[in-house]
Symmetry: C2
Subunit: 308 residues, 2 copies
């Protein structure tokens, strides 16, 4: 019963200075007096596509759903403010499932000081659907966008890539604090989080920026998971190919002017490594280069929803 | 293909003064400098539960999804600002379906000056899921809440109730402008929109307000649709019972202090009729009264998602 669930949730939510009215009314009421430039993002995850409830603890599904949304705020270098959570639950076991999902989400919400403002809880005879909408605020430096990369900017990434399906896609840390710290201390021209795949998400930056990118593939940080996955699948795909196309790494790709990139890489200000993997260039499209300077096309690969 | 769809959408969306960055990035960027008290609401609709795509034009499904969300803003007496739309589409015909849904939503968004800020478009081998999140702003009089009804307040409703399944549940007009006009010109203590059912939604007001309500059932405005439905079903349920429990009327229930209620009913300031159907009382729960003044319990009935 929806009322029963809201009662449970109200008892479970800590007070939040932003929240004038939380779950239980037709809408939540937020005090946004100090936030002039807000960002709004929504991400929908479904059982069978983004996770498999037959294989994982539903707490991990809840955590992933919220973490993936927080990663979109990180991509904008925005501070999390508030979120609303819509669930479509299978009728059988739906209430227990809703509680487990929130038990996965609430610690992450608290960690990032996110006000869980409300939601919508439905049931049907289909698989679980989780749709989370987050409101964040840009800092004084403005939001980080996809469309600002300029030829000559370095391509800088956080962390390592590939093989996230072996577990990292569930327990990754969204790079919210990392994005805020970098945005505050270095000039960043563009950014995106890697949800679909390193090469595919990089292609989104170059499309929006009207430039191209040359990736030094030898420099791409390949995750141990990518090596393990290549070994396990043994289908001829290399660890590097996994790194370039697997997706759900939820690391950042940044366009950084050369001087700031040099400083950033020397200072390594984060707990996670920063790596220079190439350069934004005038010529459109994605290119891969090798140490000898040869250049050939890099096909953007990754997860795409097929719509026909 | 998601990019193809976003390209179509960007070409279709009019510019909006609130929108610094629209669909296509990791999040939309909104200028909320003038909005200090915002409301945030989400509503998820699914094929088979909220509409049947085998029976209706998908434009109507899109319109309903947005209208139901706008009705939640109406319930708060809030002005619509911006929205994000998440879709989970069946793989076969998903792109055409997405376009048709938006073709149903966009005219309504323009009508209410709502910025369509972005969304998320997914596909799966399941039925259509539409999740819409709206951001609105409260007026200077603050948001209208469920919890403010006081004993002695009159129960005032807009429009008529029952039988919306015969068609009104698809083409209703959300009472956004009506709520804003009433909130500006009369004192309102509480409000809700009737999505689940007149008696069930009234029970939400009394629960949140810590009071009860006595409904003069003879005064409840029964829609012609309620009479037609009762006749058609011929299952013994009366038109009044349909009016009290069918739901999806998307009319407003308001708690209005007696003097303002008298004035409101005499002035009838809206195109839609306002009707006094009873009184909020000290004694908890819902009650029905008849012209002789007899009082007996009124069971709150309507649509509830069953979670087990």
């Amino acid at each position: 019963m929806e009322r029963e669930f809201i009662t449970w949730l109200r008892g479970r939510l800590p007070p939040h200075p932003l929240l004038r009215l939380g779950p239980g009314d037709d809408a939540a009421v937020l005090n946004l007096a100090d936030s002039t430039q807000c960002v709004l993002t929504v991400d929908m995850l479904t059982d069978g596509v983004d996770f498999k409830l037959t294989e994982i603890d539903p707490r991990h599904a809840g955590r992933k759903a919220l973490a993936a949304n927080l990663s979109d705020l990180a991509a904008m270098a925005a501070r999390p403010l508030a979120g609303v959570i819509a669930l479509c639950l299978p009728q059988r076991g739906g209430l227990d499932l809703a509680v487990a999902l929130y038990e996965g989400m609430l610690p992450l919400a608290e960690q990032y000081n996110l006000a869980v403002a409300g939601g919508d809880t439905n049931s049907w005879d289909g698989p679980l659907v989780v749709s989370i909408t987050l409101l964040g605020e840009a800092t004084d430096r403005g939001p980080l966008r996809r469309g600002g990369a300029r030829p000559g900017d370095r391509i800088v990434v956080t962390g390592a890539f590939g093989g996230s399906i072996l577990g990292r896609h569930l327990d990754f840390e969204p790079r919210v604090l990392e994005a805020l710290e970098l945005h505050a201390n270095y000039e960043l021209h563009a950014g995106i989080d890697v949800s679909d795949g390193l090469s595919l998400d990089l292609s989104h930056i170059v499309e929006e920026s009207g430039c191209g990118a040359a990736v030094n593939t030898a420099a791409v940080p390949v995750a141990d998971d990518a090596r393990r996955l290549a070994e396990r699948l043994a289908d001829g795909s290399t660890p590097l190919e996994h790194a370039l196309s697997d997706g759900e790494d939820f690391e950042l790709i940044l366009a950084v002017p050369p001087d700031d990139a040099r400083r950033m890489l020397a200072e390594q200000p984060l707990d996670v490594p920063l790596t220079d993997i190439g350069e934004f260039i005038v010529e459109p499209g994605l290119w891969q280069t090798n140490p000898r300077g040869d250049r050939r096309p890099l096909p953007p690969r990754g997860w795409e929803h097929s719509l026909k």
